[in-house]
Symmetry: D2
């Protein structure tokens, strides 16, 4: 079927490619016309503007937005003025699900359908397929099934027809907002899993602590049994072996083993870890609903700390230690 | 090659089966003679006692112990009296790696080699293969390579010969203790991953909180925006869809989707979660080496709480709230 | 000076009493007329309605609201229709500081001043004085200084006049919202302190764990060194001794020692711990600003768990343990 | 009564002074003879060696050690060879309570009593008195009561005689080890309280985040409502006001307010926070007994992180983010 795509960055462009491979017709637009030209060269129908894109779509139109969160709302507003009742807008980006709920209500007043699609797969989706978590009205979601089915990984087997869509990698989760809600939870779990691996590997790397010289002073907690910390462990090899038959095997571990093979020291990274919003939203949802999320919050706070935000907190601790016990800070750089 | 196996529980018996399938000769012993008979019926050579087992092994002997932690030490003592210099003992159970280091030193005085093998794979290992994390002296580990290779998942392809052992699912991690150290970290990561999924699913289930009636009193924090918590999400279907192309796909998620398919409510479980030691040991290792492990500790403490150990702590909190603010406890059973 | 008080619950009534003791004139109103009569009998001027209260106040009027959060907004709306430009409304309850910012903007359009006052002191404030954290426009806060000064603990010494207001127990923290912002942080710290004591006392109580029988099975992590856990510690006596010269002495500890003296077992409490909103708001503010709050979140999540909200999470963990390792749950009630 | 004191550092010297003020006779020794001379000049009886010290004590002798943990064991060994059955050794330093239990057993074989005393009060103890948590055999503890009573803060009132010792600031907690066990828990609570204040102050300082410019890119989570983060809060003034009538008033807060008065920015501190062992031991005790300690562990891990130990963990996270999403790290120094 036919679909319009707005936003031809890494994600959007590859989704268009995957759709065209499956035989769908794509009308594409991006503020950067070079991106439009590139896909036009691969068989898409290029549009010069939002108006042009809408004009090129047959009715009822389906427009998929794959945009940075920051410009989604303004594009949505412009687009909703161009579309007609019965058309559908899909937001496949990383919107806050609460915005989806508000948007769906607004668009519904104009007779437009709104579908939110949480999209997982990253830079690997073109070949591997995208895992799609979909929220929106039944009828509209049903109508777009061919698009979702083509974007999703699928099954590849003859009996794919008889499988539930979840088994093919896409799921209609519920009304508007539910797709991004489930994607938000997905990302929160991802934070937790990543942190679990990171902690484990950090301890593997510290398994030789007993070999290191350690200052002997009142500000340094002594290592009681250095004989138990004498291992030089090849962290990359451990990541690799865990991929084969262990309980912690996962796609993230596959990637991790690959990264460690290229650079076991990881010294190409400074350790400043960004976060892109979903973890924060999930934690707020946990707060609202009273659901304890200690793992997610630990993972999120570790990122905040890596960004430098715990500095004043630590200065307060040092000030207190000086005040009640006369403790002087050790100089930064002293390892223990 | 030939190997003796002591301990024919779920794990040990299946490992014998996998070894025999690969053409190895197994001499087997268990305190429960029915277990010995069963495997003897499948082609193993049954032993009536430790002495008998040792007598049936050609020199240098290799004896693999697959025992509950509680009886490993006494069996090891008995065994070491029966063996001769050059023989090797393998502990494939869940021993504390610090015990391994102590044991290896003791056995080395008798001329015996000691190898610790962290074994992952659970009830699935017979078919899927076991991921093996191995610690011990180079020569002894080298000599047992055929055994490790057969237990591990392997690759199945013609080029398996050219792969590193980590790519086949077994790894010599370092000297004695390092195998169980790596297995300990593996299990700690497993705790964190499990908790990450559990938190996420708990929030998915709470996505309909806005539909529930909520008491209005000073002891209940109000839900500010109930319109954002109106989703009835099929948790099992979400677990299934995530298996296909998402970032959080993993073997644990495969199992989880399967469990939820059988019983989406999970009401067959009370939620009392045991822990079997490795998480505790890993946290202690983090304390010794100064490595922060917030995710592991969160996961471990959640289990402690599920076992009832936070009760007094909560009573203290209630007592304090009554003392400074005159707050009375809500009755247990009131949901919010 | 003269002040109107709306809301004569435990907090409001005692604040009126403290103001009258200091010579201020109080006009009081409550939906429950018995509360009005009681204070009228102690010298306050009773009002029969909001209108009556406003009518009895000389201009410019100052009206203090001491209400449950749930009815603050509607009272504020009614009140703002009755007041005239130049009048001031004080919210001394536990409002979300973000609501204050929105309210102040709305009221400012009508020429009304809005002051938010975070009030700490609980049931002890009448005698001990209330610690006041004040947000609002300079002039209005300045004008009400005599009221704040009388409510605050003060200093009692002749040189009180020369002290900063913070040394007397009240502080103008900044523009509207800042008072409740600081109070919110105050409460969050309180959560953390309470949890710190609760954890410590819980461990004191567990110091005799080595004396208890412990199941020996694969689902129970063994206690390695029972000889180190043989203490029967009198928790109440410890709380008392810490009050005298230790680093952890505090007002909360004073209360705790008192509670434990009355009932060392705390069996009068079930351990279901409510939370009243401020901790949640503070955690959200930390999320917004990227400030890591691991202690606060731990304290808050412990309360969520005590309310029963971690059940499904634990069921997921049990389901996973059964799936990969064949582990059966221990029955609830088995202690270890 | 008479007591020997070994170790005349900040703590030991001041304890001698406090004892002499109360009329006790002190024989003092330190490896640094200048410390001995100083106290001799104030009325103590100086000793030139351990032998000399023991020789100067009448029988049964009481020797108090106030030494760094690192040299306590060797001094104890030397001392125990010089003493006679019926003598008592007191360890007032920060020993691990498990060492106490082992030591007491060893010394008991020689007929010596061993008392462990957890001592809180820091540099303030001389004037304020020391809070003493005492473990050891009843008779020996009883005999030293006059010493404990003089070191403790006491009550200062005429009815002090009728008070329980806990009300005077010292407590016999139980058998050997229980004193340092209670002190260990005390310090763990202290970690948690300190972290609670530090987090709160960190958030107060971040209350103006909405005023700061913020990068707009996919690696920066946007601040949704900057209008709610416009406060410039005087953190020192807030600490001061909380001292008066609030729920979070404490001795630590008194010190904190003082430190912030001297240097509100705390820029004299780098934020590298040491830990001295007790927090680690307490966390291990929680692990052994199954007591969840999320607040303590959060506080301890924050210190570990401040010491640089989370770096590799963060590098792993960055490597993973690059691998699955093509995310590049922001440069260190970019604030958001």
């Amino acid at each position: 079927m036919q679909v319009g795509m707005i936003g031809l960055g890494r994600m959007g462009a590859n989704m268009v490619r995957r759709l065209m491979r499956a035989g769908h017709e794509c009308v594409v637009y991006d503020v950067n016309s070079a991106n439009v030209d590139a896909l036009a060269g691969e068989g898409a129908s290029g549009a010069a503007s939002l108006q042009d894109l809408v004009a090129k779509l047959s009715k009822p139109a389906a427009v998929w937005m794959m945009l940075p969160a920051a410009i989604t709302d303004q594009t949505l507003a412009a687009l909703s003025d161009l579309l007609a009742p019965g058309d559908v807008i899909i937001d496949g980006g990383n919107s806050n699900y609460q915005d989806d709920i508000d948007r769906a209500a607004r668009l519904s007043d104009k007779g437009l359908d709104y579908i939110d699609v949480g999209t997982s797969g990253g830079v690997w989706g073109l070949e591997r397929g995208y895992c799609l978590m979909i929220g929106g009205p039944d009828e509209a979601v049903e109508r777009l099934d061919p698009i979702f089915r083509s974007l999703a990984p699928g099954d590849g087997s003859p009996q794919a027809e008889s499988l539930r869509t979840s088994e093919l990698g896409y799921l209609h989760c519920g009304p508007s907002g539910s797709g991004h809600f489930v994607k938000m939870v997905h990302n929160g779990i991802e934070y937790g899993m990543m942190a679990a691996y990171a902690e484990g590997l950090n301890l593997l790397k510290a398994a030789n602590t007993g070999k290191q010289a350690r200052s002997v002073d009142a500000e340094t907690s002594p290592l009681q049994h250095p004989q138990y910390y004498q291992f030089d462990i090849d962290v990359g090899e451990v990541a690799e072996v865990w991929r084969h038959g262990s309980v912690v095997s996962s796609w993230l571990l596959d990637l991790l083993a690959q990264s460690l093979k290229q650079d076991p020291s990881l010294e190409g990274f400074s350790g400043r870890v960004s976060d892109s919003g979903e973890g924060r939203w999930m934690l707020k949802a946990g707060i609202d609903t009273g659901v304890p999320l200690p793992v997610l919050s630990s993972a999120l706070f570790q990122r905040f700390s890596s960004q430098g935000h715990e500095r004043y907190s630590n200065q307060v601790l040092s000030a207190l230690r000086a005040a009640f016990g006369g403790h002087a800070e050790k100089k930064t750089g002293e390892k223990h």
